[in-house]
């Protein structure tokens, strides 16, 4: 017992050593997110005649740990826009809530929510750019799918730096390496999107997800797919890539160290 009440009930220095308070850093520069934590992998999307199809698997990874297996990374906004998120899941949730508040506010006006996918993409890319300029990035790469002001299919990308680009088919993350070549082969850029049917687009996305499942270690065979047409958004969140298996690998011999 000593005469310093603030020390009572604390581990004694002479027994446990002095308290290490280094983690209670109160000085120094303000720090922001320097790396993502729980992340989602690729998003893939294709424009087709009269709409856009977009897909992403249902996995959220914590580093190499397959942490959450029922994470819905496609988010619907308004009547006919979908945002597909890769990257940090908590930042995705923040953006999702941001979009929710915008949707509520838009509906207060008598004309309702008139924001289309193009408006949404412009807005989100500015949010990303603002945050990167504040050195406090939202660690995501997103695809926005829907329609523009002329009711034409719209597909565009935005990332944590505020970089934007669009195209008839896009993919984020690993998909940029694995899915884009497949999509470019199936739907050459000079081919007008009017010649691509909804069924073609959907089966192409499934094909991409298959390849990603085989070669992206942070991917899953459970996925979500959204089809956006004039009639609205058709979202399926519990899809499964059927009959996928690595079992064939057993029979492959003659590579690497194994010679027999």
């Amino acid at each position: 017992m000593n005469h310093f009440p603030e020390l009572w009930g604390r581990p004694r220095d002479d027994v446990y050593g002095p308290y290490n308070s280094s983690y209670l850093k109160s000085t120094g520069p303000k720090t922001h997110t320097q790396s993502p934590a729980v992340t989602g992998t690729s998003v893939v999307a294709v424009k087709f005649n009269g709409g856009v199809a977009i897909a992403a698997d249902n996995l959220a990874s914590y580093g190499s740990l397959s942490r959450f297996t029922d994470v819905k990374r496609l988010r619907v906004f308004g009547e006919s826009a979908v945002v597909g998120f890769s990257g940090d899941v908590s930042d995705m949730q923040y953006i999702d809530r941001l979009l929710e508040s915008i949707d509520i506010r838009e509906n207060y006006s008598t004309h309702g929510n008139l924001l289309n996918a193009k408006n949404l993409h412009t807005y989100l890319s500015k949010v990303f750019y603002k945050r990167r300029s504040d050195f406090n990035p939202l660690w995501n790469h997103i695809l926005v799918a829907g329609f523009d002001g002329d009711k034409k299919p719209f597909l565009s990308s935005a990332d944590l730096l505020g970089t934007t680009y669009s195209g008839p088919h896009l993919a984020t993350g690993f998909g940029a390496h694995l899915a884009v070549p497949i999509l470019r082969r199936l739907f050459p850029e000079e081919k007008p999107i009017e010649e691509i049917t909804k069924e073609d687009a959907v089966s192409a996305l499934r094909e991409c997800l298959k390849v990603l499942w085989y070669r992206d270690a942070r991917s899953l065979d459970k996925y979500s797919i959204a089809i956006i047409t004039e009639d609205g958004v058709e979202l399926n969140e519990d899809q499964k890539l059927e009959e996928q298996s690595w079992a064939f690998a057993e029979s492959i011999k003659g590579y690497g160290a194994q010679v027999v």
Partner: protein
């Protein structure tokens, strides 16, 4: 001596008297706010016109983001189609900064017209662009900009910039990833560098080819040649060539396909 050396080796650097920083030696990620989206731009002026051109490829490392991502923009036009614009701007480097810069300059030129009741002169716009770039001197817009229009006398005007706002008026300029490939070609073909009048003398007495402004057709040809050549030798350049020609009758936009490999 020994102790000093020992101290040095311990720190791996000069033996400061104050404590060494305790931060981790390296971080797996750290946020870098820039990226290079590649591509090249080019501007050439003539007597009564100016041309700005750029390829339409956008890259991230070895990936092609998009085959059509324009780098040349109309400034101060009436709506998002850019109708009645009289100034054009090209930006190459970090596309997000380029886009932000374009939006900002566009807003300023529009406001100038609303407030003064007359369009902003290219000279004023050029100075203003420099101010904007310098205002972010310590967190720059990572872009090389080229501004073009017609000056007060109706002559083609071209201004080129560095990322922090240093600028000058020039006859021609190439910028971006293939600038080092295109610029020497321009020096030779537009400014007639190393071109001499045949038979005008021996050695140092050779007379340089006389400077002259090129006609529009020739310039357009040079631009196309410059880009087709750059596409061959630079992986970040390709897909499409976007060209804007500004004359007293307005801005004409053209597109030519380039190799997609």
């Amino acid at each position: 001596m020994m102790s000093a050396m020992g101290h040095q080796s311990q720190n791996g650097t000069i033996g400061y008297s104050f404590g060494t920083p305790t931060t981790a030696p390296h971080k797996e990620h750290s946020f870098y706010p820039y990226t290079d989206n590649g591509g090249s731009t080019l501007g050439i002026t003539g007597e009564d016109f100016a041309i700005l051109a750029g390829d339409t490829r956008s890259v991230a490392g070895y990936n092609i983001n998009s085959r059509y991502s324009p780098k040349v923009f109309k400034i101060g036009g009436e709506d998002d189609t850019g109708e009645n614009a009289h100034i054009i701007l090209s930006v190459v480097g970090f596309a997000a900064d380029g886009h932000a810069l374009k939006e900002r300059l566009d807003a300023i030129v529009k406001m100038y017209k609303y407030q003064h009741g007359k369009p902003m002169s290219v000279r004023a716009c050029a100075q203003r662009l420099s101010t904007i770039l310098y205002s972010k001197r310590f967190f720059p817009y990572y872009v090389t900009a080229i501004l073009a229009g017609l000056d007060e006398e109706g002559k083609g005007a071209l201004y080129s910039y560095d990322p922090v706002g240093s600028y000058e008026r020039e006859q021609c300029r190439a910028a971006g990833s293939a600038a080092s490939l295109i610029m020497p070609f321009l020096d030779n073909q537009v400014s007639f560098k190393n071109q001499y009048i045949p038979g005008s003398g021996e050695g140092h007495d050779l007379q340089a080819k006389k400077k002259e402004l090129l006609p529009m057709g020739t310039v357009e040809h040079l631009v196309k040649d410059a880009f087709t050549s750059a596409v061959e030798r630079h992986i970040e350049v390709g897909d499409g060539l976007q060209m804007m020609v500004i004359t007293k009758s307005g801005i004409e936009e053209k597109y030519f396909p380039l190799k997609q490999d």
